[in-house]
Point group: C2
Chain length 80, copies 2
């Protein structure tokens, strides 16, 4: 089973990497790009018997290792 | 409109960062995690009149700036 974990900075946290990407896109002529936020993306291949179990395990991994809960939030999607 | 761009290394490209995360998860006791691939994740806020336009623009940005087409592939999702 595959769990996808998206980790992004919380909205209140300044994202200099995203700002730099947005400025680079403006320089390239993409003026309609208003804002960019950059995050991390993980694809976990998990041996789990159910989607719920895979999601629970991915959430635990995200809490303990993949994200910093003080400044980051995460979202999980499970596909079989 | 929001376009989400997921950039991952192509399957044939070795992903040491993902391997390190997988090993760390094994050390933490998550033996059922078979494999991890790490990638980048971008949320673009785009002033576009249609989802198609936003997708086209995000794909162009991904081709020109956000990904390295030699070793990386990307996937785009558009939400209003």
């Amino acid at each position: 089973m595959q769990a996808r974990v998206f980790v992004t900075l919380k909205p209140s946290v300044f994202d200099p990497q995203g700002t730099t990407v947005a400025e680079a896109l403006h320089t390239l002529g993409y003026a309609t790009v208003r804002d960019v936020r950059q995050g991390k993306y993980f694809e976990l291949e998990i041996d789990a018997t159910s989607a719920d179990e895979a999601r629970r395990l991915a959430a635990e991994a995200a809490d303990r290792l993949l994200s910093n809960p003080v400044i980051e939030s995460y979202r999980i999607e499970v596909t079989s």
